[in-house]
Symmetry: C2
Subunit: 154 residues, 2 copies
């Protein structure tokens, strides 16, 4: 009969707006900073971080799952990174289709140089703005949203 309540309450809207705004500003700024002081793209950073963290040698598909990317995106990304000398691709003996992605020394050096700087930025922009209680609250909220999302269709 009567239409469902289409819009958000002003409090809900305010929360959503604040979240979106903060998320955009924060991510945007961190991205620009990674690029500025490491000459790597944010994607390069993530991939290299996860790759070296896992030993520096991984199957493309495993890497994609680890970072939660689709394989196509990872394939493109790895291709570009190979062109820049950050990683190399090796054939996989066990699986004729397979490819190992291997971090080059330059790649290792790049990430080892970039990581502390990046963490410093995260601390300065984000961590330092909040108390540990607020961080805990945020983590709890984020995890709640994540588990709730998993139950939703689509």
């Amino acid at each position: 009969m009567d239409a469902p309540p289409h819009w958000l309450t002003s409090e809900q809207q305010a929360a959503w707006d604040s979240f979106i705004r903060m998320q955009e500003k924060l991510i945007g700024r961190l991205s620009r900073q990674v690029q500025a002081d490491s000459r790597m793209s944010p994607s390069d950073y993530i991939v290299l971080a996860k790759l070296t963290e896992a030993g520096g040698r991984m199957r493309l598909m495993d890497l994609a799952k680890l970072v939660e990317w689709e394989k196509s995106r990872m394939s493109h990304q790895v291709g570009r990174m190979a062109k820049r000398g950050l990683v190399t691709k090796e054939d996989c003996p066990d699986d004729g289709r397979g490819a190992f992605i291997v971090a080059t020394p330059e790649g290792r050096e790049a990430i080892e140089e970039a990581a502390p700087v990046h963490v410093e930025h995260v601390r300065r922009l984000f961590i330092d703005a909040l108390t540990q209680e607020e961080l805990d609250a945020l983590a709890r909220i984020a995890n709640r949203v994540l588990t709730h999302m998993e139950k939703q269709p689509d």
Copy 2:
């Protein structure tokens, strides 16, 4: 003497990871949904929403400031949207450099159709996962981070 504490505590790291993960999943999913059920890109949606909200006729620069984009991005975006018939560009009589961006009827129709669906998705994926207290807490945290970021260099 001793190096500064380079890394985050495990609690800090956990909070950061949860936030990033939730943010990526949520934004990713909402983006795909906008595209799926409106045949508009997320950028189209935002621009059209803000534009019509403001009367459907605005200077490009004002629009850019409103959405907090740089003018270049807005110019490209508006160009594409014009090509798709969502907006048109009109010369500005008062300012020879200027351009008015005007939402076309098709643009208005598109956003009016897409908005309720999008809000429903936001509600379903995000709002419904949290209590009003949690939403308030999140808003407070987000605003804290935002004001803290404004004080930081860069």
